[in-house]
Symmetry: C2
Subunit: 121 residues, 2 copies
């Protein structure tokens, strides 16, 4: 069969590093990525696209310059394009990201946390 | 605060009907919709877009002309554009759909199950 289910837990078991989402599926020109967040990410924005965070397991927070949003398992948020944000998770939080192919995790900010290349798992 | 978390369970509690997904978020020109599936949907295809099914709670199946895929909580599939498919769920299954704004649930097939208008909840 050429079609098969993609299991989030199984995909998440294949890597350990934090803030390094891996591609698990493509819909048109968008990627679905699973990631493990822990600690502070950096302030950044995506100037040309919205970005979706879905919490699969755990709790995280997204800081904005004018507030913050707490997210837990079974919750999502769409961060609008051009809005600075900073993900944070006290304990490891497992997430599903949806964003256009080519979206860089650090947006305009760059730096050491930048994922250089999309990796499929 | 203008940003807030979207809780799938809370959104799903707002309606009861089957095969009538409701819009809960927009990312660029894509909608996220929650839906409750039970029974057989109809055979259809979307000629101009892929379509993503994420199972939030329950079990479902997608029949293809050349096979089938079983999906359970924590699993997803992207049905490629132009591929005929037929969702089925024996018991009520709660799902998250991701698809372009304007995608019709019955695709090319039409009929009584067609959702005439996108409803935000």
């Amino acid at each position: 069969m050429k079609y098969s289910a993609i299991n989030f837990e199984e995909k998440l078991s294949k890597f350990a590093e934090h803030f390094s989402p891996k591609v698990i599926a493509q819909m048109n020109d968008y990627y679905f990525k699973v990631g493990k967040f822990q600690g502070h990410f950096i302030w950044h924005e995506h100037t040309d696209t919205d970005e979706t965070f879905i919490v699969l397991d755990g709790e995280m927070r997204i800081d904005f310059r004018d507030g913050k949003v707490e997210l837990k398992t079974g919750e999502m948020i769409v961060v609008p394009k051009g809005v600075e944000h900073r993900p944070f998770a006290e304990k490891e939080c497992r997430i599903l990201l949806v964003e256009p192919v080519g979206t860089v995790n650090t947006g305009d900010a760059g730096g050491d946390l930048t994922v250089k290349e999309d990796v499929w798992i």
